[in-house]
Symmetry: C2
C-alpha cells in the first residue's frame, strides 16, 4: 500500500479487534471499547481476552483473533509489552494488516526494549506483513460528526484509552509523539474551547514503523484537513519532512504548525526517557524548522491556539493578512498602548488614516478628545459622546468596524470589547457579531467585564468562528502568525 493508502487504512478500518478488552472499567482495554462504541464506530468490533468470558457492551469475548471467522483490518493492543510478540504473531497468521500498540516499555527503556523490538521486526518481517502504529502511544481519533450531533450520527473512530465525550468536527489534524494529545490534554482542550474543530488526532509514540512522514503525506492531500498540528521529539526523516512541508506551502489551504520537544539539553534528556528519541542537536533542529518554513510554536498551548485560529480563518474563507497592517478598537487607552508595544515587537503596523476616514472619525469623537491619525482607535470618548446623543454605542462600533474593513490598507482588526450589563451601550453583542462575522478580513476579540456576559459573548463569537483571546499578547501574536504563514507560502 502507498503511504496515503496505509494511513487511510488505519484511519478508516472496517473491523477492529481490541486485544486486552476488559470488563473492568479501570482498565485501558475497557475504555478503548467504550470509546469505540459510545462514539459510534460503524465497523465491527471484536473484544479479545483469553481470560474473559461472556460479553462486553453486547459483544462476545474471544480468546484469540484466530477464533474469529470474519476479516479483521486492525488490532488495537492494550496489554503489557512482554505479551505483545506472541499475540502479534497470531495477528499476522490471521492476516490482520495493521496494529496499534499503546503499551510502553520499548526503545525508551533501553536493552530490554530493544530485544522486544527485534522480536517484532522478525514477526512482522520488517513491517511487511503487518504495519504498526506505536508503541507507546494513545492511538488515533477520527471525528466524523460533533458530539452534539444526533446520538446515532456523532462520533467516528476513537481508539484512545481515554474516553471522549465532547468534541467538534473540524479541519485540524494532529500528529503527535505525545500520547496526551489524543488523551487528557485534547479532552481538556475540546471541552474548554468548544470551537476547536478536530478532524484527526494521531499519536505515533516511538514510531517503530509508521511515523510523522506517512501521516503528513496523507493529510497534505486530504481535503477535509486545513491545519496540521505536529508535535515531535525527533525527526524520522528530516529531508523528507522538509520536502513535505514545502509541498504543503504550495497549497493555499494548508498550514502546518509545529512544536519540537527536546530542543535543549535538558529537554533531550527527557525525550530519551519518554519516546526513546535520540534528539538531533539544537542547531540541526533549528535548521530543519527554518527550511520547512512552517509555523513554529513554543508549546502545546501555542500549538493548539494557533491551530484554532487558522482553523477558524479557513472555515470562514478569510483573506489572510500579508503585510501586517492592522487596526485596533479599544475601550481602554492603556490596552491600546500595550498592544501598540506588542505590535512593534511583531512588526505589525497601524496605518495612518486618509482624510476621508479621519474626518468620519472626527465627527464621531467629541471635540475635546479627537481620534488618533493612525489606526489605533481609543473608542471610549466616542462611546461617551454617542450615549450623550442617545446613539447606541454598539451600533456605532459596528459601523466603525465596517468602515475600517473597507480600508484597503487595513488587513484585519483587533477589538477590545467590554461586556457588561452596567453599560447600556454594550448590550447588543448579537448585532455586532451578526454584522461582522461574514466579512472577509480577520477580526479578533479580547473580551473583559462581567464573566457571565463575557461567556455569553464568547459563545456567540465561537459559533461564528470569530476568535476570542484571553489576553492582548495572544490576540496580537495570533494575528502575526497569520502574516507569518502568508510569507511562508510558496506561489508560482
Amino acid at each position: 500500500m502507498s503511504n496515503n493508502n496505509i494511513i487511510n487504512f488505519f484511519l478508516n478500518p472496517k473491523s477492529v479487534a481490541v486485544i486486552g478488552a476488559s470488563k473492568n472499567p479501570t482498565k485501558g482495554g475497557h475504555r478503548i471499547m467504550d470509546n469505540l462504541i459510545s462514539n459510534n464506530f460503524k465497523g465491527k468490533i471484536f473484544p479479545i481476552n483469553p481470560n474473559s468470558d461472556g460479553d462486553l457492551f453486547g459483544l462476545e469475548f474471544k480468546k484469540s483473533v484466530l477464533d474469529i471467522q470474519e476479516e479483521i483490518d486492525l488490532a488495537i493492543f492494550y496489554i503489557p509489552n512482554q505479551k505483545i510478540p506472541a499475540i502479534l504473531e497470531e495477528c499476522v497468521k490471521k492476516g490482520i494488516k495493521g496494529a496499534i500498540i499503546e503499551a510502553s516499555g520499548f526503545e525508551e527503556v533501553g536493552d530490554k526494549g530493544y530485544e522486544l523490538k527485534d522480536q517484532i521486526l522478525k514477526i512482522t518481517n520488517n513491517f511487511s506483513k503487518i504495519r504498526i502504529l506505536g508503541p507507546n502511544c494513545m492511538g488515533l481519533t477520527r471525528i466524523d460528526e460533533s458530539s452534539n450531533s444526533k446520538d446515532n450520527e456523532k462520533g467516528g473512530f476513537f481508539t484512545s484509552f481515554a474516553v471522549f465525550y465532547k468534541y467538534k468536527k473540524g479541519n485540524i489534524a494532529i500528529i503527535s509523539q505525545s500520547g496526551m494529545l489524543n488523551g487528557g490534554y485534547l479532552m481538556y482542550l475540546m471541552e474548554k474551547y468548544p470551537d476547536l474543530g478536530i478532524r484527526y488526532s494521531c499519536t505515533i509514540g516511538n514510531k517503530m514503523d509508521l511515523s510523522e512522514i506517512e501521516f503528513l503525506e496523507s493529510f497534505i492531500e486530504d481535503p477535509s484537513v486545513n491545519v496540521i498540528a505536529i508535535y515531535l521529539e525527533s525527526f524520522k526523516n528530516p529531508r523528507k519532512f522538509i520536502d513535505l512541508c514545502r509541498k504543503a506551502r504550495k497549497k493555499p489551504n494548508k498550514t502546518i504548525i509545529f512544536v519540537k520537544g527536546g530542543i535543549t539539553e535538558q529537554g533531550q534528556k527527557a525525550t530519551l526517557s519518554h519516546t526513546g528519541s535520540i534528539a538531533e542537536n539544537s542547531q540541526l533542529i533549528k535548521s530543519i524548522i527554518k527550511q520547512s518554513g512552517i509555523i513554529h510554536a513554543n508549546s502545546f498551548y501555542e500549538l493548539f491556539q494557533y491551530a484554532r485560529t487558522f482553523s477558524m480563518m479557513y472555515t470562514e474563507n478569510k483573506i489572510m493578512p500579508k503585510l501586517g497592517n492592522i487596526s485596533m478598537i479599544t475601550g481602554s487607552g492603556g490596552a491600546g498602548t500595550i498592544v501598540a508595544d506588542i505590535t512593534s515587537k511583531y512588526n505589525l503596523k497601524f496605518p495612518d488614516f486618509d482624510n476621508k476616514m479621519y474626518n468620519i472619525l472626527l465627527d464621531i469623537f467629541p471635540e475635546w478628545m479627537p481620534p488618533n491619525r493612525f489606526a489605533l482607535i481609543d473608542f471610549w470618548p466616542a462611546m461617551e459622546k454617542a450615549m450623550m446623543n442617545n446613539v447606541n454605542p454598539g451600533y456605532l462600533m459596528t459601523s466603525v468596524i465596517e468602515l475600517l474593513l473597507k480600508e484597503q490598507n487595513i488587513e484585519g482588526i483587533l477589538v477590545m470589547l467590554f461586556c457588561s450589563g452596567q453599560f447600556r451601550n454594550f448590550t447588543n453583542y448579537k448585532y455586532i457579531v451578526e454584522s461582522i462575522y461574514h466579512t472577509s478580513k480577520p477580526i479578533f476579540f479580547w473580551l473583559i467585564g462581567e464573566i457571565k456576559e463575557v461567556k455569553k459573548v464568547n459563545r456567540l463569537m465561537s459559533e461564528k468562528n470569530i476568535p476570542v483571546f484571553p489576553n492582548l499578547e495572544e490576540m496580537t501574536k495570533n494575528f502575526w502568525i497569520l502574516v507569518q504563514d502568508s510569507k511562508n507560502k510558496i506561489f508560482y
Copy 2:
C-alpha cells in the same frame, strides 16, 4: 501632610461628595454612588448635582458642596472637563482636602487641555489647597472584606464608575496609569480568578498632582500589602522611583511587579493620546527598570498573574526559591519534555536524585520502565503499577510529593495533574490538596482532563492558595519569577 498621610487620607476618607451624582443609571455619576453604597462605604456620602432634586439611594441631592454643613474629606468628580474648574473652586472654598477627577480631556488633548490644567494649578495654588488624583482615571478601590463576607461586612471604599460585585480581599496593591485596572479588566480578573486577592487599586491617570511616587511610598510601609503591581506610561521621577524600589527590595515581604506602556515608538504614539505622557526613550526606560531591580512583566496579563503567584506565596509563608532547583511530576512524558525545554530557557534545573531517593522511586516504578535519575518524574508507569497492585495512585503521588519536599536541593515542585472521573486514581484530589498545601515550598499545578473535574480541583486549590496555571510555560515562568525576585532582594 506627608506622602503616606496624603495617600492614607485618599484611601480612608471619612466623608465624600460625589460631584455629578445622577439618578440615571447609565451615567458614571450614578454608578460611582452605587459602587460606594453597595460596597458598604462606612463614611458619609453627599450626592451633588445642581440639576437634580430629591434623593438617590436615600441620600438627599445638594446643588453644591457649599450647601453642606458637615466636613467633607474628598470630592469625586464625574462631570465634563470644562465644568471642573468652577466646582473645584467651590471645593477649595469648602475646605475639601482632596479630589478625584475621573474626566479626561486634559494634557492628552493638547492646548485646550493645558489651559484647563493651568486653571486648576491656579485654583489649587499648585495643589497646596487641595490635592488631586487624576484627571483621566477611574478612581481608587480599598477592599476591607471580600464580597462573599456577610452583607454588612463586605466592601470598603469603591470609587470607580464601574460597579464591583465580586472581589477578594488580599495583599496586592495596584498603581495604574490605565483606568481599566480599576474598571473592566480588574472586574473581569477578580471574577475569573476568585483567588486574586486585592487590597487597593489606585488609578493615577494623567497624574497632574499625585503620582506613582506617593502611592509606592505608602504601600512599601503598609503592612497589609505584600505585592505592588504597577502600570506606568511615564515616570514622574525616575530617580525617586528607583530609590523606592530599592527600599522595597530590602524588605523580605514586598515584591514589586511592573509593566511599562509605551516602550516602543508605536507604543509611545499611543501613550501621548492616552495619558498625555511624553515617554522616555526606550534605552532610558530599560535602564530605569534594570536599576529598580523589580519584576518586569510584559503585559497586564502577566502583571496580574505574577501578582497572584506572589500574593499566594506570601499568604502561605512559602520559602521562596533562590537557585531555581525544581522537580516535576507529570502524567505525560510529552509535557515533561516541553517543560524540560522551557526550564532550560529560564535557567531552572532538575537536580539529580541521591541514591536513597532514587531507590525509593525505583521501587514505585515498574521494572520495565525505571524512573529518571534526575528530578523530572514521568509518573504514569508508577501509577499503572500502583493500580495493578490496588494501591491508590493519588496517595502514591502525595507520598512522592512529600518525599520530594524533604529533599534539600529541591526548592519547589511543578505538577501536571490529570483530572477525570474515568481514572480511579485521580479521585482523591481533596486528599492531595489537604496533604500538601501547608508545606513550606511552592507547589504549582497544571490541570488537564474533564473540565468539570478540572474546575472542582481548581477551586479546592484556590482556597488553599495553591496556584494553578493554564499551561506549562506560564507555570514554569512563574516559578522562575519567584527565583528572580529572590535574586533582586537586598539583604545585609
